[in-house]
Symmetry: C2
Subunit: 420 residues, 2 copies
């Protein structure tokens, strides 16, 4: 691959003006060596060369037909890289053609899973505006993951600005069809090539993007889940609340086992009480009517085992705004109780028997909302009601609002404008 059109730009950081950041930058310019922890969480360590550079591809790839898109299979023309070393802090961000990452065979990411990531999306509105959905939430979580692994933290606003440049450059990779988007995958890995189990002294933050079709092109199709009790996704004192690479590979066997038994995904049930925690790689919501007929929207609490999902938070916020009257959503029951509380299989089965189970759905960046039709459990299936179009009475108005915001039909400060 040949590169060209090298052009340095200050745009990425021109908008970065929190006083703390400026101060750190100036201090660094005076020669003080900063660790990532004390540079005001900035990518820059004070060198003029630490500004974003963009190297455009000279051989752009052909865009894949939108209809043939499969999740995460095709990547856009460019990627963002930001190196870090313990000695010099964050180096200069660069956008360059998508290309291999070369690692020492001793790199800690390969041996000890020193790795974490985020999943987020950019949407093209009808008027051509491109936005990212709540990237501040992803940046916050990514820094939280980095701390959990003793990897370097960074200035989330700076990374958002760099990602805007990347998405802007590859905006033709966002399919024009409704329901399509550009999936964005920021990743942070430990790269130093020594075999000790310790915080890395070299790391690389990179961002790749991938055009994504709608998760349910033929409309919602509720999925069957298999209740997993043999394997765990998380445990108290573990890493379930962080988006670490280490949380994913060990879950594949549970998925395989679910698939073998004819289920689409697995439902992580925790402890002898079989608490519902997550659905495959999604957060989980249950809707139940209490004995007084009041609708309760329930999701497991952030007790250290649950990933603090951006879609989870968005669903809770929209539902709470509805319940408080701040913004009513059409179709959603007037009286709705929103609960972050534990719920176990016994409660699911009881409410199902008593006809009070309304619906159950997963939430995540990839599919936004995924309705569930049944849960394989104890050798049988617990049936979950689903609406005619696949969605339930609570998930549908919430999904409609959420997608309305993401696609620009509804104005919201959750949208970060990338390009107009």
């Amino acid at each position: 691959m040949s590169f060209s059109q090298l052009r340095p730009t200050q745009l990425c950081f021109a908008r970065l003006t929190p006083p703390a950041t400026r101060f750190s930058w100036r201090s660094t310019a005076l020669g003080r060596r900063y660790m990532s922890q004390d540079i005001g969480r900035d990518f820059m360590t004070g060198e003029a060369s630490s500004r974003l550079t963009i190297t455009k591809t000279t051989s752009p790839k052909e865009l894949p037909p939108s209809k043939s898109l499969l999740f995460g299979r095709t990547f856009s023309d460019h990627m963002l890289r930001i190196p870090w070393t313990e000695a010099t802090g964050w180096g200069a961000p660069s956008i360059a053609p998508f290309s291999d990452i070369n690692l020492s065979p001793g790199a800690t990411v390969l041996h000890y899973a020193q790795s974490l990531f985020e999943g987020m999306k950019a949407y093209r509105h009808e008027d051509g505006t491109v936005t990212m959905f709540r990237p501040d939430m992803n940046m916050k979580r990514m820094n939280s993951s980095a701390q959990r692994l003793a990897l370097p933290t960074f200035n989330g606003d700076a990374l958002i600005e760099c990602m805007k440049e990347l998405i802007s450059l590859d905006r033709n990779w966002i399919p024009k069809e409704p329901g399509h988007s550009l999936y964005i995958r920021p990743t942070l890995i430990g790269t130093n090539g020594t075999l000790g189990v310790a915080p890395p002294n070299e790391a690389l933050l990179f961002v790749i993007t991938s055009p994504a079709g709608p998760y349910y092109p033929q409309g919602f199709k509720p999925v069957p889940l298999h209740g997993t009790t043999e394997y765990i996704r998380a445990a108290p004192g573990g890493t379930g609340a962080y988006k670490l690479s280490a949380n994913y590979a060990p879950g594949v066997v549970a998925q395989k086992s679910a698939a073998k038994q004819g289920y689409a995904q697995n439902l992580w049930l925790h402890g002898p009480e079989h608490w519902l925690t997550e659905v495959g790689t999604m957060n989980l919501f249950v809707v139940i009517k209490d004995r007084d007929g009041v609708t309760e929207l329930i999701t497991p609490p952030l007790d250290g085992m649950i990933l603090p999902g951006v879609t989870r938070d968005s669903v809770l916020t929209l539902a709470r705004n509805h319940a408080s009257g701040a913004k009513r959503l059409q179709g959603l029951p007037d009286a709705i109780k929103i609960s972050e509380r534990p719920i176990n299989m016994a409660e699911i089965i009881l409410s199902s028997k008593e006809g009070r189970l309304v619906e159950l759905f997963g939430t995540g960046t990839a599919a936004v909302v995924t309705p569930v039709e049944r849960i394989g459990y104890n050798g049988g299936d617990v049936m979950i009601p689903t609406g005619e179009d696949g969605m339930g009475p609570v998930s549908k108005p919430l999904w409609t609002e959420l997608v309305g915001i993401q696609t620009g039909a509804i104005k919201s400060d959750w949208n970060y404008v990338v390009a107009k």
Copy 2:
């Protein structure tokens, strides 16, 4: 780097003669496509080209002074690589100069920790013979780890033969000083560049080696441990019994916390009962005298949370041989009870108070035996007796026997001859 002296060899597989393997090979030669699961666990998929090739470096590195060796910092001149794809199975093994691994930025190892490894050692005996210590145990565990992650399994004997070739080629990298060895790191990673969380359809097995000095060059120095209750290493239904990359990065914060409080390593305490499980990245042994004065050697059982360590198994085997009279070890008490059973901090504290706590030590490939002098717990320190030379009355004869075997002073079928 320039390569030369390409020479194909069949040596690596000449010794590989289990009938099942041969059969699979022939069947494959007839054109049947095999998945890794049904090719008799062989690296070969039937093509003549699937034999080991060796490309020697033309620019050998200078050997580092043995005194300056730090664990895992320096790698020998060559490495072994064996690629795998779902469609074609295991490809041809190759030994070539140590060089970077090039990965797609979408490679599953980077995003989902599809990665596992082993740690083992080759020793140079006084007569020049080079041996590996119980590599069959590592191969068994590596395949067990691969299955847990839905990564491809393989023929362990074939990998041992390939590693012998690698070690033989780089035998000058085994330092000549007593107590030194060559650390061997086989690693298996998922390499396909697509973002779905699923079994990979491409993988790479590679082996690198690193010269290692004695862990305690100035004799044994017992270490202080900090009892970790805030974080976990493993949990029931998790991956603690497998040597997965995913088990390591999340433990760094516990190490950092221990170090900050002045302790050398952390002691993983599980559950509200504070069961002792592992020491940092080592297995754990406790020696206690019961009230009748009988010495009990205790290690936590393989309940799914404990790594089945090769040194752990070796210590248990030597102690059991002693207890049964099969092979008495000088210095070890005649009456010794060997127990794989849970032990918690309450029992440690009680036996300490009653003067019955004899010693506590970690075992692992890197340090073989590591004596412990105290445990930071509940704001105080539980003191552990240690002998004059740092070791205890049980660990010392076991360590002496083990190291005697590894260095060739004592004959044993645990040694696999690499070169004479």
